[in-house]
Symmetry: C2
Subunit: 221 residues, 2 copies
Amino acid sequence: MSGLRRPARRYPYVDAGADIYVDSFATIRREADLTGVPADAEKVAVRMIHGSGQVDLARDLVVHPGLLAAARGALEAGAPILCDATMVATGVTASRLPASNDVICLLNDPRVPDLARAFGTTRSAAAVSLWEPMLAGAVVAIGNAPTALFHLLELILDGGPRPAAIVGCPVGFIGAAESKQALVDLAADHGIDIPYVTVLGRRGGSAMTSSALNALAQEAE
Amino acid sequence: MSGLRRPARRYPYVDAGADIYVDSFATIRREADLTGVPADAEKVAVRMIHGSGQVDLARDLVVHPGLLAAARGALEAGAPILCDATMVATGVTASRLPASNDVICLLNDPRVPDLARAFGTTRSAAAVSLWEPMLAGAVVAIGNAPTALFHLLELILDGGPRPAAIVGCPVGFIGAAESKQALVDLAADHGIDIPYVTVLGRRGGSAMTSSALNALAQEAE
């Protein structure tokens, strides 16, 4: 380490990690309208806003009233986290997980390309079918592919295993808004009530998805 | 693979991966105002918008006119990509890299905690100092920590090695907007002209940063 020295300060910025978190969360609580968020999921909303840099994310957030209890309970009991994208899995802070939970992404599993071809769908969606043996009671985290969320809902509607909770935040221009609306409508349309958090519209992504997981994993900010 | 079958289709959605990309990029080109983006960097802007799900990202994008030539040239010559966060590194598509370029994140290097303590700064910033031996001519990708971007600028202003190009898109509420403004002002304020792309304001993040890298790596959409 000899030879390395901090360069001269030229800009006035906060350089204490803990202060940055505290100031960030205070800014979010000051600016964001969280009235639509269940009280016990407020920290989930704050972290998702933090990951996106946008306080107006609050207006598109939909949080099922049972989300926190279902996801926290499942994680404390050792449930795995099933992710659609490696970036989501990478964003989960291992030290926050209450039971050294497995964080699993099967997108690069060698079976996926053939399965996607056989199914006539995307690799992201095909990988969801490989979750089946682990899916009952798991926490699902979809932060990239709308097709993964649609495929999951179709798997459940076909009588497949039901996860304990779904963080469903795919991003983009084709199918993202529609897949998240289908998640919100699952209970009303089909009588299947699985706790979830989602962001209506096109916004979403791996950062806000792993941020939600990190808040669900434990209470400490 | 026996036993796995595609669940019954219940929702009308596009499930062909190639079509999703084509339709997404067409939607972005139809809706986004890209007039402020240099012509040769249009695909970079489109990919960043794609990664964020927001066409109005275009209004906050600032792309240096020399970005594409500098970054593409560096990558084709084998330059490494230096990332502030593991999520950024994870988001780089290896098959798009023109010279099997190294994609490096040193945030979890064992030297970082002590260095951060000695410097009195964040781990993200301290890790930037560990880039020094590789920094000259590299492509830098900062998609998370404002302190990493400030630290990089201070390192350069101290006479340190200069990267070939900077993707500078930290996200958040404390220092993000200021660090990106400092990047934009580097040439005017200090006479150091390094090509960059950034997003003014609080928005940013690992997804749009790795999206930019994937567009800079090769021309094919």
